[in-house]
């Protein structure tokens, strides 16, 4: 059973002609059976990909599409707001979701003495979405703190974290004044220094080394 016998080496040759196959062509290496098998697999693979790839793309497309509403919503006349007290207003974030798509924003006039950053935004509109896991926070006037009911996150009056699990200050919304009415636009996120970033999900850090683990998303 020596493997170097001439018969053995002929049988293992890569050329079909040398393997004594009937009807083999000179220099042919792929058998007809091999070609049929490979061809059938390739056709089946293409047919499967033809429905699988579009379906998968269909399912993941919302991850890659900018889904911000880009609308401005009226929250009241200018004289309803001052620099000291927050006025709660209701916004429609996802209009088609009914009550579930409504969102509370706490609005006050920007105070140039205390609000050093974001001077281009005339009104401070703080989102009530907790930066821990997204529960709705509530502003307590007596203690001048935002408090989250779920896991005990507490924020200062300007939205900076005062205690508990939140990883960054409360998000804010862009504001503008049109014909004496205050309008609220898109969301943005802030780091501990109140510098602006694109909107991030709750629980995504924006400070220190952690911020590099949570990139901005195409969807916002």
């Amino acid at each position: 059973m020596a493997s170097d016998s001439p018969k053995q080496s002929r049988r293992q040759s890569r050329y079909t002609a040398e393997r004594d196959m009937p009807g083999a062509f000179e220099g042919e290496t792929v058998t007809r059976r091999g070609l049929m098998t490979g061809g059938a697999m390739a056709v089946g693979g293409i047919a499967t990909a033809a429905f699988a790839i579009p379906s998968l793309g269909f399912a993941v497309a919302p991850m890659l599409k900018d889904s911000t509403a880009d609308t401005w919503q009226d929250v009241g006349a200018e004289e309803e707001f001052d620099e000291t007290a927050y006025v709660p207003a209701v916004m429609n974030i996802t209009a088609e979701a009914g009550d579930a798509g409504k969102h509370t924003v706490y609005v006050r006039k920007r105070d140039p003495k205390s609000d050093k950053k974001n001077a281009d935004i005339p009104y401070v509109a703080i989102s009530n979405r907790c930066a821990h896991l997204g529960c709705p926070v509530r502003y307590i006037q007596a203690s001048q703190r935002f408090v989250c009911p779920c896991h005990g996150g507490i924020y200062e009056a300007d939205g900076k974290v005062a205690g508990g699990p939140p990883v960054r200050p409360l998000d804010r919304f862009y504001t503008r004044v049109r014909a004496g009415r205050v309008e609220v636009g898109d969301r943005f996120s802030l780091n501990a220094e109140l510098d602006r970033f694109s909107p991030r999900d709750p629980s995504n850090h924006l400070d220190g080394l952690w911020q590099y683990l949570y990139p901005s998303r195409p969807s916002t």
């Binding site: 991850m63 996802t94 088609e96 997204g134 529960c135 999900d201 709750p202 949570y214």
Partner: protein
């Protein structure tokens, strides 16, 4: 096959004819004339045997069924071994009640809550079917973890059953995914905020988290796309995967057999297998 296949139990084997009951010999006075009742009984038994034989001849299912249903089990097999079957039964109950709930439920943001309330308040036995689906989900999660604990404590995950343990762990994850996706469907305040928190927990995983959260929500906010997405996952994708994996799980159980309880192995090595 014959060596591996257990023999047919007595009640399935054709009974040998009694002397004197052979119909061909009825006329010669040796045997008594069979009564009509006996004839009916005999005819029915023959008919049953013919139906079974007809099916078996065309499917070859009999050795497979015998290997599955009449296989030998170790001595000491006890009620703890029924936890897997109990989980399977809970899954079947969830499947059946879920299919019927889908006849009334409407996964749109404006109709979801109302249609769920309609099932509970208006549909005949709707409260019972929805209640069985709701509580059955909890029961299934409890049972699957008890089954997993039994497997762990009895050492039944060891060679050659590691693959079955891995399949089982995937089934646990899928069962919890069913719980997560089903929780949103009533679309009340509890459902909405539980989903918001659950999706944001997914978002907290580094690098991929924000993308995973966007995939689950179908966008940047929980809304109508999230509801339809969870409905499709809950109704079609995850149950299909669970069904397929249960098939693989049961195939491996039948192929490899069950383990004896650990306390029996120490006693008598030769006697820890017995016939049913």
């Amino acid at each position: 096959m014959s060596k591996l296949t257990p023999p047919l139990p007595k009640f399935l084997r054709p009974a040998p004819k009694r002397p004197g009951q052979d119909p061909a010999r009825n006329g010669n006075g040796n045997g008594h004339k069979p009564s009509t009742g006996d004839q009916v009984k005999e005819g029915a038994a023959e008919g049953k045997a013919q139906v079974v034989g007809w099916l078996d001849e065309r499917t070859g299912a009999s050795p497979l069924l015998r290997a599955q249903l009449l296989r030998k089990v170790p001595k000491g097999t006890n009620w703890f071994y029924a936890l897997g079957s109990a989980t399977l039964f809970a899954f079947m109950s969830q499947t059946v009640t879920g299919v019927f709930l889908a006849m009334y439920y409407d996964p749109s943001t404006s109709r979801a809550y109302d249609s769920a309330a309609y099932i509970t308040n208006e549909v005949f036995l709707g409260e019972l079917v929805r209640g069985m689906h709701k509580w059955g989900a909890t029961v299934m999660v409890i049972l699957i973890f008890l089954h997993m604990g039994r497997t762990f404590v009895f050492g039944a995950y060891k060679y050659p059953r590691e693959l079955n343990w891995v399949i089982g762990v995937v089934l646990v994850v899928l069962t919890l995914a069913m719980g997560l996706t089903g929780y949103l469907l009533p679309f009340d305040q509890r459902a909405l905020w539980a989903t918001v928190v659950a999706v944001n927990i997914n978002a907290s995983s580094p690098i991929f988290g924000p993308y995973l959260a966007d995939f689950l929500r179908g966008g940047a906010e929980v809304g109508a796309t999230t509801l339809t997405r969870f409905y499709a996952l809950h109704m079609l994708l995850i149950p299909g995967l669970i069904g397929a994996l249960i098939g693989a799980h049961l195939y491996l159980v039948a192929k490899l057999g069950t383990t004896a309880p650990p306390w029996l192995k120490a006693e008598k090595k030769d006697l820890n297998r017995e016939e049913i």
